[in-house]
Every structure is written in structure tokens, then in C-alpha cells.
Amino acid sequence: MDFGFTDEQNRFRHEVRSFLEEEIEKGHWEPACDAWIQGFNPEFTRRVAHRGWIGLTWPEEYGGQGRSHTDRLILTEEMLRFGAPAACHWFADRQVGGAILSFGSEELKREFLPRIARGEAYFGLGMSEPGAGSDLASLQTRAVEDGDYYTINGQKTWTSCAYFAHYFDVYARTDPEAPKHRGISEFIVDARSPGLSRIPMTDITGTEAWSDLFFDNVRVHKKYLIGQKDRGFYQVLHQLDYERSGMERIMGNYPLFEAVVQFSKENQLSLQPAVRSKLAQLEIEFEVGRLLGYRVTSVMEDGKTPNWESAMSKAYSTEFEKRLANVSMEILGPYGQLMSGSRLVPLRGMAPHSYLGSKGYSLQAGTTEILKNILATRGLGLPAA
């Protein structure tokens, strides 16, 4: 057991932190909740890429740095701590790149990974459909072979970054006759493809960070199939393990946490035992969530794919986020109801944003129910329901 970081790792953390503090100081952006998923800032992404911080763990031959999962943990932890607007590159860096690396052809690796690492190729995810959320295997989007191409028809929903994305990572049914887990394939679809349209959606926080994607006879060359035909469901499971492996959830609202602690001190609210007890409890829960997240990285460093460990971490962390939002609203009292942009709004409206937004966190990337099922059956070996 070793809970420490090496000197080199500490230096790297310091380097990232200095970079981010300087960004804020220069007024490039303000720390924000959910900025990793809603903060679209191509200039920032370019500067991050310039540092070599996209694809950090990928092999150097594909534009990566060949660095450790722990280094990437440090990097993302600091990005989240400062609420940095990293959404443009986040999905490709976190999971699509990894999917290409694990399952893609050499040609795909050479085509996409260096460009992602340079901050030039942004990816959106085309997984969920209106009728296929938790039950992803029942997705209806079809891809039909047609010579050297596939023709895709259908709808995807809740795609983040859709208006910025250059590509989408799309799962579609290629064999409608097969059992539903066995007829799905994964494609890279160019966002400019004819027949592909994006309709923005407004979520409960009032944010337009998501879109519906419509595929109307969208043609994709066969070389953009990732991995084996009809094996997409198994690839998506693998990808989801990584999707849930990071600190996004425990730290997705860190700017609010920091701000509400500061606010409570400045307004002497934390002299009230009830207020400081709530904040201390959040600190305790945050620390446990941080360690559950670190454990996932530790598993990866041991060369294993995190599975129930990332399910546990994600399920736990979204509950933490709900409590953080609840406590923040309680501490702010009547001011808590004021939304971003209002007169007198405290903490830039982060509390109600987070309160509303947190209703969705426990649904994204696997609902809490699915994650607990995974933990119970794969982690604890309980029999399938």
C-alpha cells in the first residue's frame, strides 16, 4: 500500500496546476462546474495539446507520450479541480482514442490518434438512443452494407459536443437477425457527412450542451469500422469501463465545493455547528470518492481493465454530487434559488446549476442501477437477476 506520489509526479501536478492558474489569471476562462462536458473551448484544447497533454498515455508513435495512468489521473484531477473547459478533447482523449487503440486498424490509429493528440479532431459519442439507454444492446440505429460502404439510418441522443465535434463514435446494428448483443458494430462517422443532422437540446439546467443526432442514409466507408463487425457491444462495454474510470464525477462540481466552503467561511456561516458539520461530511465523502477513483487508476496501473471498480466509483460519486448540491443550496438559504445571471446571485449560480444537473449525472454513462448490478454480479459474484 502506497498512498503517495513520486517527486516526478508531484512536479507534474505542479506543472499542470501552474498552467491552469495562469490560464485563469489571464482571463482565458472561469472555473465552472461540468466544464469537462459543457466547456467547449477550442483555443484551450489547442494549448493543452501543445503541452502534449492529450493522449498522454498513448504510445509515442501515435502522437501520445507513453506516460502512466497515474500521470493522466494527476492531469485530469487538476483539470477538474480548476473547472477547465476541456470538453472539445475530453471524449476522444478519455475513451474514443482508447477504443481505436484497442480495437482499431493500424490505418485508423495512424489517421486519428495523432490528430486527436494535436487537438485537431474532436469526437462526440453516438451511443444512447431514445429507446436504448440502460439497455444499450437494444439500439435501433441500422448500418447496412453497400459495397465498400455502410449506410446508416437512425437517431442518437444526448450527444455532448455535437456542434464542435469533427467525428462521432457511432454504434449501429449491422446484423438485425442476430441476438441483440451480437449484431452491433462501431463506426467513426465524419460530422460533415451528408444526411447527418444535429438538433440541439436544452437540458434541465437550461444548458444547450447536448444534441440529438439524426442519420438519414449517412454513408461511411468500411475502413471506418472500428474493430470487428458485430462485436461492437463488447467494445462498448470496454469503452464504458474507461468512461467511468476517471475523476469526472467526484470532481465534476469541484468549483462549487470550493466556492461554498469559501462562502461559508467569509460569511461566518461555518461558525454554525450545523453548517460546518455538513461541509465536513462533504469533505469526508469527497475524500472517500477520491480514493475510490484513485483505486481505479491503481487497478489500471496493474495492467487490468477496471470494471466493477469504476462502476463503484461512478455510482458513489454521483451520489456525492447530489449531496454537494443539496448542501450548497441549504447553506445559501433563499439566495440558493437564484440562477446564473440573476441580480444578487451567489457563487455565479453554480449551486442551482449543480442541483438540477446532478439529476442527470446518475443516469449518464450507466445509470446507478446498472452500475450496482455490475458491482453485485461481476464484483461480488451474485447470480444474475
Binding site: S134, T202, Q337, M339, S342, R343, L356, G360, E369
Partner: protein, 375 residues
């Protein structure tokens, strides 16, 4: 003891449900919320014609002479339909206060207009800072100068100040240094208001009084009574807010159960999954606990029984129960429920605003503790 509605109350409930289903669809709510005033004068007149504004105003002022418990039934339906507009401000905060504390002359002056839907009232209670919902927290001063009180100061979170004809204003009088409630005319140039953007979609304002003169005849209940008047306002408002919330979370429960019956994942309705069933069972328990504790408080108010404890219990329970209900509703609805296209957000946003209004669970736990003699 009988914990079910009377036949008359069932009738009132059904009539209100039918009217609101017809006139207050979610499309309508959406439209009114997005409008300039957040208020439909047409619907307001329809409601006046149904006698809603005067429901519990005595007949001599043009009202229906029913009880607070009957009003509770109506408020529940309003909460259920997310009715926008100043009913709460006008009737609960305004008319009931005048009915409770006003002189005969004041009642004659204000109530018939309210009943006819001609007058909109509101209450200016909250102030900047982190005070509680009690008379003791009031700092805005009204200084007696001849026959006028002169009000100066800032009130916050005043609902519907932009359309109100009169503002009831809780103040600290000088030189007496006691709490009083005054009726101010909204049109005065010495009153200004600025909108606040609230999670609930309701219209809240910052209202600044700059040496506003109010005749001492506008004092509600005498200068020594103001503290009790304010405490009773808060009690009624807290219970009335709970009544709206009973309608809110009851509807959320129904929407969620319906959705769980319809939505299929893994080739089964999700409502057949045991975890979803237990979520729904927990929601129903929270809703029924909220309903019973709210109606108990409303019954006591309607019987004019002392009920500080029961009001506090109802509002404290509602604050946390509604949060749990809403949270599970979202969890069961899945992604569609966090889209603005779906109706759930109306309930979610209003529930949070209602939790905050007139004191949250922390505040009322302290009230309950006091009633238990713990401090």
C-alpha cells in the same frame, strides 16, 4: 378522526382538477413562464368567476365562506398543475392576512376587489442576509412621522411585485421598535423593484422602499400585534406552500409510476424491476407522509388550534420528502426527465423553490425542538 376528504372536498377537488386540466396545460404553463409578466389575466378572471380568490373569504366581503382546509384542497390542485400567477401572493399572503389581522374597514377596502379578481396583493417579508422566517429577523424600518409611517429599506424575494396593486410590508416601527405589517400601494414612486431569476420560474423581486409614506390607518392589527401577525402569516404560508407541494409530488409520483409501467428496457417494463418498485414505494411513503402531515396542519389552522409544532413538522418533512421524491422521479424517468422538453422539470424546479420558501427543514427542526422544550 377520518383521514380522507369529505364529499364536498372531493367535489371541489374534482372541479378544480377539471378546470386546470382544461385551462392550465403544460403548454400553457410553458407559455406563461416565458411571457413578460408570467401571468395570464384571462385565466385570473376565470378563476375569480369560479370564486377561487374568495373561496374562504366570508360572504359579507363577497367570498364563499369556506375553510382553510377547503383552500388546502384547491392549493393542492394548483400545485399539481403548476399553475403560474399570483394566487398564492394575493390570497394566502395578502387576503388571509387582511382577514386575520385587518380592521373591518380594511377588509371592506381590500377583500371584495380580491374576490372579484381586480386586486393583486403580495407580501414583502424577506430581507438581505441570513435571517430566519420570524418576526425577530425583520430590520426594515418604518418611522412614524405624523400620521404616516415612512418605510425605508430593501426587501427580497417578493413575489409578483411587478403586478401587485398592494404590498403588505413587514417592518420594524420606530420609535416603538416593534414589528408591524403595513399595506403599501404598489404604484408609489418611492417603491422600485428589480427582478430576480429564480429556479422556480416564479417571479421574485428585490423591492426597495425609499422613504415611502404609508398612512397609519394602513397598519394591520395594531402596532403591538405585528409580531404575532407576521408569525401567523408565516405559518399559513408554510402550510399553503405544503399544500401546493402535496399536489406537486403526488403528480410526480403518478407520472413516474405511469412511466415505469410503460417504459421498457431489457424487454420488460422498468416498473417490474424490484429496485424501481422500491423506489416507487419510497416515493409513495414520502408523499403520503407529506399529505397527512400537511393536512393535519391545515386542519388545525382551519380549527384555529395552536399548531406551531404541526406546521413545523409538515414543512420540515415536506422539504426533505419532496427532495427525495423528485430525485427518485428523475432516476426512474432516466435521461428524458432531464430534458426541458419533458414536463418533469416544472415540478423539480418548483419543489426546490417551495422547499426554500418560508423556511427549510433546518429552520423548522429548530422550531420543533423549541416546541419540544429542548432549548
Amino acid at each position: 378522526m377520518r383521514l380522507a376528504l369529505t364529499e364536498e372536498q372531493e367535489m371541489l377537488k374534482r372541479a378544480a382538477r377539471d378546470f386546470l386540466d382544461d385551462k392550465c396545460s403544460k403548454a400553457f404553463v410553458r407559455q406563461v413562464e416565458d411571457s413578460e409578466t408570467g401571468f395570464s389575466r384571462e385565466l385570473w378572471q376565470d378563476m375569480a368567476e369560479l370564486g377561487w380568490m374568495g373561496l374562504i373569504v366570508p360572504e359579507q366581503y363577497g367570498g364563499g365562506g369556506m375553510s382553510f382546509l377547503d383552500l388546502a384542497v384547491l392549493l393542492e390542485e394548483m400545485g399539481r398543475s403548476c399553475l403560474p400567477g399570483p394566487f398564492f401572493s394575493t390570497v394566502v399572503l395578502g387576503a388571509l392576512t387582511i382577514l386575520d389581522a385587518g380592521s373591518e374597514q380594511q377588509k371592506q377596502e381590500y377583500l371584495p376587489g380580491v374576490v372579484r379578481g381586480e386586486k393583486i396583493l403580495t407580501l414583502a417579508l424577506d430581507e438581505p442576509g441570513f435571517g430566519g422566517y420570524d418576526a425577530g429577523s425583520i430590520k426594515v424600518e418604518a418611522t412614524l412621522d405624523g400620521h404616516n409611517y415612512c418605510i425605508t429599506g430593501t426587501k427580497l424575494f417578493v413575489p409578483d411585485a411587478h403586478i401587485a396593486d398592494h404590498l403588505l410590508c413587514a417592518v420594524r416601527t420606530k420609535p416603538e421598535n416593534v414589528i408591524a405589517a403595513l399595506v403599501a400601494d404598489a404604484g408609489s414612486p418611492q417603491i422600485s423593484h428589480a427582478p430576480l431569476k429564480s429556479i422556480g420560474g416564479d417571479r421574485l423581486y428585490e423591492v426597495v422602499f425609499d422613504r415611502l409614506p404609508v398612512p397609519e390607518t394602513r397598519l394591520l392589527g395594531g402596532v403591538s400585534q405585528g409580531s404575532m401577525v407576521v408569525d401567523r402569516i408565516v405559518q399559513r404560508a408554510a402550510v399553503a406552500k405544503c399544500c401546493e407541494m402535496v399536489g406537486n409530488i403526488q403528480r410526480v409520483l403518478e407520472m413516474t409510476v405511469d412511466y415505469a409501467k410503460e417504459r421498457k428496457q431489457f424487454d420488460r417494463p422498468i416498473g417490474s424491476f424490484q429496485v424501481i418498485q422500491h423506489y416507487c414505494a419510497d416515493m409513495a411513503t414520502d408523499v403520503d407522509g407529506a399529505r397527512l402531515s400537511t393536512y393535519q396542519a391545515a386542519w388545525m389552522l382551519s380549527q384555529a388550534l395552536p399548531c406551531a409544532r404541526e406546521v413545523a413538522i409538515a414543512k420540515a418533512w415536506m422539504g426533505e420528502a419532496s427532495r427525495r421524491v423528485i430525485d427518485l422521479a428523475h432516476q426512474i424517468h432516466g435521461a428524458i426527465g432531464v430534458s426541458m422538453e419533458h414536463d418533469l422539470h416544472f415540478y423539480t424546479r418548483r419543489a426546490k423553490a417551495a422547499e426554500i420558501a418560508f423556511g427549510d427543514a433546518d429552520f423548522y427542526r429548530e422550531v420543533v425542538a423549541r416546541e419540544m422544550g429542548l432549548w
